[in-house]
């Protein structure tokens, strides 16, 4: 075990997986010479060469489209989207091809594309450096989605994504890239997709969250003194329904927390799951603490948008006071 920051753990995973499998290559904007704008790909070009850590022209759809062709050639591309909102052009290829090509070949060809990107707000950045676009990706058939909240999971989930035969998108919470520190296993470390993590055990209320919101939920649990079970979803698709439903069955109260806008956000899916499969366990209405249905704000006002410890704490009190 070594103590690493979350972004160092991402870098560790890339070094480990490139060393393990010669067919893996990293591609993106500024990933090679610069080592990534967040240094997530630092050292890869020097160690593995410019053909395995490739600076591509600035074209996100073209990059992801090229990744489809690389898969047909038998390679395993890992595409970095420089920022959440800069990934939107790639949705064209993601929706029309990346999520459909295995199906289109009737399961005869693997498309082991990994897309990783820093996401989320709170970093005092210019417009379109703050989005939480996970719902667009989860909604796309054929795509898997993971969101780590700890350095250990950042390494393990990324390794699982790279080894997975299907396209996987990994959202890395940039707010805690350098503030989340934790023990990370050295060498190969894989955290399987589809398994949630109990970040904090409790029996009065369940807080469902992922990414940077997990720590916010933990702090809210601390602040309110209510016995909250914080479930770190980790894998949005496939989703670990079992762990979520077991927690709801235990607590009977649920709040869902994410940074993305509320309407048709991933929280709506979680709320529907609870309504369909755990309704009779509920002692209070399911609550959502989310961003709002407006563009991510001017950064002087962003703290009003990103779910805060105060807003989550208020939701917890509302649940137990119902």
């Amino acid at each position: 075990m070594t103590e690493l920051t979350l972004v160092e753990a991402v870098n560790d995973a890339l070094h480990t997986e490139l060393a393990r499998d010669g067919s893996v290559l990293v591609m993106g904007e500024d990933v090679g010479r610069a080592g990534g704008v967040f240094r997530a790909t630092a050292g890869l070009r020097d160690r593995f060469g410019a053909d395995r850590c490739v600076d591509v022209p600035l074209a996100e759809a073209g990059m992801l489209g090229a990744a489809v062709g690389l898969c047909l050639a038998g390679l395993r591309p890992v595409c970095e989207m420089q920022y959440d909102a800069f990934s939107y052009p790639c949705l064209d290829q993601l929706i029309t091809h990346v999520g459909r090509y295995r199906w289109r070949t009737r399961g005869t060809v693997d498309f082991p594309v990994t897309i990783r990107m820093p996401y989320g707000g709170g970093v005092r950045a210019p417009e379109l450096h703050d989005d939480s676009p996970e719902a667009y990706y989860v909604h796309t058939p054929g795509i898997k989605v993971a969101v780590p909240s700890t350095p250990g999971d950042a390494k393990g989930l990324l390794a699982a994504a790279i080894r997975d035969p299907d396209p996987v998108v990994v959202f890395e919470p940039k707010l805690v890239y350098r503030t989340a520190r934790g023990e990370v296993p050295e060498g190969e470390h894989v955290v399987p997709l589809g398994k949630a993590r109990i970040a904090r055990a409790g029996d009065e209320a369940t807080l469902l969250a992922y990414g940077a919101m997990v720590a916010v939920c933990e702090q809210a649990a601390e602040r309110t003194g209510v016995s909250c079970e914080v479930v770190d979803i980790r894998s949005l698709r496939p989703l670990d329904e079992e762990t979520i439903l077991a927690s709801v069955a235990k607590t009977g109260r649920v709040a869902i927390v994410h940074e993305a806008p509320r309407t048709a956000g991933f929280g709506a899916e979680l709320a529907a799951l609870v309504a369909e499969k755990a309704l009779l366990h509920l002692q209070a209405p399911v609550l959502r603490v989310t961003g709002y249905d407006v563009p991510y704000p001017y950064w002087q006002l962003e703290d009003l948008y990103v779910p805060s410890v105060e807003r989550v704490s208020a939701a917890v009190r509302k649940l137990v006071d119902f």
Binding site: V56, G62, G65, L70, L72, P89, H97, T105, G194, P238
Partner: protein, 313 residues
């Protein structure tokens, strides 16, 4: 060329008979499709758009497979690795980056192989075309871009598509050679493609070929070009269609006679008769195919749909 022509003519009939669904007509595009692919080896890849749906025939793919694609039956979706023919790309131009990626991947792996992508004049307005062409040029990928400029993108004429004097001019912006050929002259297309393939194999990177002609048939079975096209021009174009033109040329040189012409045509017609019969004799699609193949290992909710009792919400 004859097989491609007969496929197209019969496919149109099968559509009118209700035996296949909507069909994108390829009539008079045979010189481009046959001429360009004739310059390839089996190790090379073809990336077709819907206009090149029958292109697999040049690699020996069964007509039944392609007919099943147009019939919406799962058996029409082939394994690209079996033929080095990518799946038919429906959204315009979005397969250009795939071809660029495949070509680049071959180069990275040190494997032989060239990629050839087919797309229309309208596709050159798409971002995907630009991004794919640019990436291929930067990576010096062994790619041949074959632009089927038939002057129309459904009802949008080339004059409303670009202010560039020729589409081949666009190649300069990517730092690759751009060649303009008569799209009805199969030998001219072949020669341009052969040069491009040779250059690609030698490490010279991609080439853009603009094969120019005028669409002499509707875009597809759901299109009525009477509303927009110049019918007199269409009639002129139909009189100089590419298969007959090449046939005349070969006859003039004494390389083709009635016997061979008749045999090629009847063999192709027989292949189509057998193809549609084979397609229609295939059992109906297995309903389980709705839920298969989206993932290598389906998530539990999708896996559950493969159980018959799960089909009610």
């Amino acid at each position: 060329m004859v097989l491609l022509r007969v496929f197209d003519e019969r496919a149109l009939v099968y559509h009118r008979q209700g035996r296949i669904g909507t069909y994108a007509i390829a009539w008079n595009h045979e010189a481009i499709q046959a001429g360009a692919t004739f310059a390839l080896d089996e190790q090379d890849w073809i990336f077709p758009s819907y206009r090149e749906s029958p292109i697999g025939l040049v690699r020996g793919m069964a007509p039944a497979t392609i007919l099943q694609w147009w019939r919406g039956h799962p058996s029409g979706w082939w394994n690209p690795l079996d033929w080095n023919v990518a799946s038919i790309c429906v959204p315009v131009g979005t397969h250009v980056p795939h071809a660029a990626g495949l070509a680049w991947g071959k180069k990275l792996k040190g494997e032989p192989g060239v990629a050839m992508a087919f797309f229309g004049d309208g596709a050159t307005s798409e971002g995907a075309f630009h991004e794919g062409a640019n990436l291929a040029a930067v990576m010096e990928a062994p790619l041949v871009l074959v632009c089927n400029n038939n002057s129309w993108a459904i009802s949008t004429p080339i004059s409303a598509q670009t202010r560039a004097e020729t589409l081949a001019d666009k190649a300069k912006g990517y730092g690759m050679p751009g060649v303009r050929v008569d799209g009805l002259d199969v030998l001219a297309v072949y020669e341009a493609a052969r040069e491009a393939v040779e250059r690609a194999r030698a490490g010279g990177g991609p080439t853009f070929i603009e094969a120019v002609h005028y669409r002499a048939a509707p875009h597809g079975t759901a299109d009525d070009p009477g509303a927009y096209i110049d019918q007199e021009r269409v009639e002129t174009e139909r009189r100089q269609e590419c298969v007959g033109r090449f046939e005349t040329e070969l006859r003039d040189r004494g390389l083709l006679d009635d016997e061979l012409v008749g045999r090629l045509r009847s063999e192709a017609e027989e292949a189509m008769r057998a193809g549609i019969a084979e397609a229609e004799a295939e059992p109906p699609a297995d309903p389980r195919a709705v839920f298969q193949h989206a993932y290598a290992e389906p998530p539990p909710d999708i896996a559950a749909m493969l159980e018959p009792e799960a089909h009610s919400d």
